[in-house]
């Protein structure tokens, strides 16, 4: 097995790792807003409706993406939420992502957009469903 084919073999697995890590980090922001876990951070109490919806998308969408279940539609929804967060919040602080705290938002948005196009990778419930469906 050459180095090239070995890299190609691991590609869908590493995609799944990227998906799981990004989903858990995304979910953490929802848990902070909804349940103050692991700590309270910034958001007003009680949450205004937009932040309430955002936090719900982050917890449930992040959970589904971590499992890799219904990856494409969920990733599309979460990417849209992150785009709205960037233009509704970060962009108002200033134009430079490293200074308006928006680079995390941008990275989430594009990672999820890529998952929408590529799917959840080798280690996902979607892949398991496909395999069971074929068997």
């Amino acid at each position: 097995m050459t180095a090239g084919t070995r890299l190609a073999l691991w590609r869908p697995r590493v995609l799944s790792l990227l998906r799981i890590i990004a989903a858990l980090l995304f979910m953490e922001h929802g848990l902070i807003k909804h349940f103050h876990f692991p700590a309270r951070h910034g958001a007003p109490v009680p949450l205004p409706p937009t932040l309430f919806i955002a936090a719900t998308i982050e917890v449930i969408g992040g959970g589904l993406l971590a499992l890799g279940l219904f990856t494409r539609p969920v990733a599309f929804l979460c990417a849209g939420e992150m785009a709205m967060a960037y233009f509704g919040f970060n962009n108002k602080i200033g134009p430079w992502p490293a200074l308006n705290l928006g680079d995390v938002t941008i990275l989430f948005c594009w990672i999820f957009l890529y998952l929408f196009c590529e799917g959840g990778g080798a280690w996902s419930l979607d892949a398991l469903r496909r395999r069971l469906g074929r068997a």
């Binding site: 890299l7 190609a8 691991w10 590609r11 590493v14 995609l15 790792l17 990227l18 890590i21 990004a22 980090l25 953490e28 922001h29 902070i32 692991p38 700590a39 951070h41 494409r72 430079w96 992502p97 490293a98 200074l99 680079d103 995390v104 941008i106 990275l107 989430f108 594009w110 990672i111 957009l113 890529y114 929408f116 196009c117 590529e118």
Partner: protein, 131 residues
């Protein structure tokens, strides 16, 4: 679904370019104070931050172009892992609170690029087509 799959290598290139530019911005802030000085970075830069900033500017530029993508991505991914454990992990275990989710996301996006390459829109793809 076929349409989405057709777009996947192109969107991979967009993800690569965006991530690389955001990465490069942090290096430009440290080295040239552009668009503003990096908050918290001392002036003059200590050696380790100088090396980090050079990797961010040089590596970010190569990854933006998609030139030597896999090798550049491997080095940049390692730099972000080092940054997370040397800087962010010291301010606490939770990425959303220690300012580290940025570093983690860049680390994993670059690590994926090692395996996936630069996608459809990259100098690497252009060179392959020419050959």
């Amino acid at each position: 679904m076929d349409r989405l799959n057709a777009w996947s290598p192109r969107v991979l290139s967009l993800l690569r370019i965006i991530t690389a530019l955001l990465f490069m911005e942090h290096g430009l802030m440290k080295l040239f104070h552009f668009p503003a000085p990096q908050p918290g970075a001392p002036d003059p830069l200590p050696t380790i931050l100088l090396v980090a900033a050079i990797l961010e500017v040089g590596g970010g530029a190569l990854l933006t172009l998609g030139l030597f993508t896999r090798a550049a991505a491997f080095i940049c991914s390692g730099e972000m892992a080092a940054a997370y454990f040397l800087v962010h992990a010291k301010s606490g275990p939770w990425p959303a609170l220690n300012g580290g989710d940025d570093a983690i996301l860049m680390c994993w996006v670059f690590f994926y690029l090692v395996f996936a390459g630069g996608g459809a829109w990259s100098v690497d793809a252009l060179v392959r087509k020419r050959a």
